[in-house]
Symmetry: C4
Subunit: 242 residues, 4 copies
C-alpha cells in the first residue's frame, strides 16, 4: 500500500486534469446557452469531477499518519469538497500545478514569483467573473448581465480601484467580491515586495564599498588563517630542540 | 500592596473576559430586537463592564510610578473610558490577548504577524460593522439598514476598494469609516511587508555565494585566530632561552 | 553681511510663524462668515504674509552663491510665491518645522518617520479640505458644501478609498484632488515601508544564528590579529641572534 | 552588414524621434478639430511612423541570431506593429529613451528609479487620456467628453482611487482602464519599494554598532593576516639553522 506522499505525487497531474475539465464544463454552463443534451453532459462532468475530488480527499485522509492533524490543516479542502457554493475553489489544484511546473523548470525566485502571480491572477479573474455572472445575472437589481461586465467588475475590484459602476447585490456575489479584494491586497503586496527586493539589491550592488560581507569572503579569510597556522607549525619543527 | 506590573499580569485575562462580555451584550443590543427585560440585562452588562474598566484604569494610574508620564502614554485608554462614543475600542483588550496568547505559544515572527493581522482584521470588521449599523440605521438618507450591508460596506472600506454603493452619512459613521480606512492602509502595509520580508529572505538564500556573512562565522574565525595565538605562545616557551 | 545658511537658520522659526498666521487668516476667511472689518484684517494678514514670503525668497536668491543653480533647485518655492492658486503650499514651511523640531529632540528613525507622517498627513488633510471648500462651494454641480464634507472627501481620497459620494467638479478642485492622491500613494508607501523595515529587523533578530556579521565583530577580530602580530614580534626579539 | 546590436544602438534615437512625431500627430488628431488638409498631414505622419516601425521590426528580426527566440521575447512589439488598436504603445520607445538618457547621465539607483517613474507615469497618463477620449467620446452612454475629463479619470484610476464619477463604457476604454490599473499597482509598488529601501538604509546607518560588516572590512582584515604571514616567514629565515 502506498503512503500519502506517493499518492499525492502520483495524483497531482491527473487531479489537475480533473480540475481543468471541471473548469471547461463550468465555463460552458455559465457562458453558453446549451441544448438540454449538452447541459446534461456538463452536469455529468461537474458531478464526476466532484466525486473524484471526494475520493482523492478521503484517500489522503485515510493515508495520513496523523489524521486529525491533517484534517485540521486541510480544512479548506474539506469545505471545497462539502460546500457546493465554493466549488470553483477546486481550481486551486491548477494553481498548485504552476508551482509543480516551476519546480521542474527552475529559475530565479523573483521570476518564479512573477510567473506565479500572473497565472494566479488570471485564473482568479476568470473564475471570479464566471462565479459572479452565475450569482448575479438572475437578480433584478444586479447590473452585471454579461461576462464582459463581470470581467470588468473583477478587474476594478482586484486592483482596489472600485468605480462602483458595477457592484454585487447578492450574498454570493459579495462573498466572491470579498475573496477578490483579499486577492487584490495580496497582489499589491506581491508586486510591491518583488520591486522592493529588486531595488534593495540594486542599491547594495551600486556602491561596492558598502557591499555586504559574504560568507564566501569569510571562508577565504579562514583559509588564510589556516595556512598561517600551518606555517607556524612548520617553523616550530625546524627550531633547534632545546 | 502589589505593583503595577503584577496587577496588569493578573488582570489581563479577567479584563479580556469583561471585554468579551461587553462585545456579546453590545452585539445583542444592536443586532436583535430584544424584550425590555433582556434589553435591561444587556444595558446592565455594558454599564458593569464600563465600571470595571474605570476601576482598572484608576488602579493602574494609582499604582504607576510616574503618574503623569503613565497618563500621557495611555491617553487612548483614558478616552475609551471617558467617551461613550468610542466604547467599542474597549475590545482592544481582546486584541491584546492575541499577543499574550502568542507569547505563550511561540513561533516564527512572520507567522505571529499573520495570525495577529487576521484576528485584528476580523474583530475590526465585526465591531466597525456593529457600530456603523447602530450609527446609520436611524438616519433617513442612510443606505445601511442591515448587518449584512454594514459588513459588506466595512469590507469595501478596509480593502480601500470603496465602490460607493454604501457610504456613511452621519458624523459618527464617518469617524468609524476613517478609523477603518487607517486600519485598511495598515493592513495593506502589513501584508506587503510580510511578503517583502519573505521574498528578500528567499532571494538571499537562493544564491549561496552571495549569502551574507553571519555572526556565527565570524565567531568561528575568531576561535581559529585564538588557537593560533596559543600555538605561538607554546612555541615561544619551547624556544631555547637566549 | 550674512551668508545664505545663516539667514535660513535665523528665519526658519519666524517664517514658520508667518506661515501659521497665514493658516489662521486663511481658515477664518474660508470657514467663518466674517464682518467686513474682520475680512479686511484677514486679507491684510494674507497679503502681509505673502510680502514676507517674497522678501524671504528674494533675500535667499540674492545671498545664494550660485544663483541660477539655487533658482532651478527651488522652482516650487518660486511658484508658491508667484501663483496665488497654490498659496496654501506656503504651509510647507510648517512641515519643515517638524523636521527641525525632530533634529532637536532626536530619536530613532522609524519614530521620526511616524511622527513626520502623522503631522504632514494631518496638515495636508486640513489644508486640502479648506482649499477644496473654497474652490467647490460656489459651483452649482458641486456636492461639497461644508467643511465637514470637504474633510470627509479628503479622507476618502488620501486613503485611495474613493467612494465617489463627493467628488470635485472644478478644475482647481481636481488639481487639489490630484495632489491629495499623490500624497495618499506616498502615505501608503511610507506606512508599508516602515512596517517592512520593522519586520525585516524582527526576523533577523529572531534567529541569532543567522544574524548578520556586524562591523563591530570584524573590528574585534582585527584587534586579535593585531595582538597576534605583536606576540610574534616579541617572540622574534627574544630569539637568539644567529 | 551590421549586427543587431549595432542597428539597435544606431536607431534608438531616430526611432524615439519617430515615436515623438507619432505622438504629436496623434494628439492633434484627437484634441483639435482639424481642417481636412491638416487631418491628411496627421494621417500621413501616423501611417509613415507605422511603416518605419514595421521596417525597424523586420530588420531587427532578420538580424537576430536566433530568430524564433527573438520573436517570442518581443511578442509585445509584434502586436504593437500589427494591431492598430494598441498603436499608442509605440510610445514605449520614448520610455526606453529615459533609460538611455539616464545611462549617459549616471546617478544613484533610487534617483534613477524616481525620474523613470515620474516620466513614465506622466507619459502613461497623457497617452491613456488621449486614447480614452478617442474611444469614449463617440459613445452615447459615456461621460468622458473632453480631454480634461479624460485626464481626471486617468488620475483617479492610476492612483486606484476610482470615484466612479467617470468610468469607461466601451470595450476599448475598459482595456485602456485595465492597463492603467496595472500601471497604478506598479506605481504604488515602485513608490513603496523606493521608500522602503531608503528607510532600511537609514535604520542600518543610525546604529553604528549594528552596521553590517562590509566586503571592504574583510579585505582589510585579510591584508593584516597576510602581513602577519610574511612576518612569520621573515622570522623563520632569521632563525639559526638547526
Amino acid at each position: 500500500m502506498v503512503d500519502q506522499q506517493t499518492w499525492e505525487r502520483r495524483t497531482e497531474w491527473p487531479m489537475a486534469g480533473v480540475a481543468l475539465l471541471f473548469l471547461v464544463a463550468y465555463s460552458c454552463q455559465v457562458l453558453l446557452t446549451l441544448t438540454p443534451a449538452w447541459h446534461a453532459v456538463c452536469e455529468a462532468v461537474i458531478t464526476g469531477s466532484w466525486v473524484l475530488f471526494v475520493v482523492d480527499y478521503v484517500v489522503r485522509l485515510v493515508l495520513a499518519e496523523r489524521r486529525l492533524h491533517w484534517f485540521l490543516h486541510h480544512l479548506l479542502e474539506f469545505l471545497v469538497v462539502v460546500l457546493p457554493a465554493i466549488r470553483p475553489l477546486r481550481l486551486l489544484r491548477l494553481v498548485a500545478m504552476v508551482t509543480v511546473a516551476q519546480r521542474a523548470i527552475g529559475g530565479a525566485i523573483r521570476g518564479k514569483v512573477l510567473v506565479y502571480t500572473i497565472c494566479t491572477s488570471t485564473l482568479l479573474l476568470y473564475v471570479a467573473s464566471l462565479a459572479m455572472l452565475e450569482a448575479e445575472r438572475g437578480h433584478p437589481d444586479s447590473s452585471v448581465k454579461s461576462f464582459g461586465e463581470a470581467l470588468w467588475w473583477s478587474m476594478t475590484t482586484v486592483t482596489t480601484v472600485g468605480y462602483g459602476d458595477y457592484s454585487p447585490v447578492t450574498t454570493t456575489g459579495r462573498l466572491i467580491a470579498a475573496a477578490l479584494m483579499i486577492g487584490g491586497i495580496s497582489l499589491i503586496g506581491v508586486v510591491t515586495a518583488t520591486i522592493a527586493s529588486w531595488i534593495v539589491e540594486q542599491v547594495a550592488e551600486e556602491d561596492a564599498a558598502k557591499q555586504a560581507a559574504t560568507a564566501n569572503q569569510i571562508e577565504e579569510l579562514r583559509h588564510e588563517v589556516r595556512r598561517l597556522t600551518e606555517s607556524l607549525r612548520a617553523t616550530e619543527q625546524k627550531m633547534p630542540t632545546s
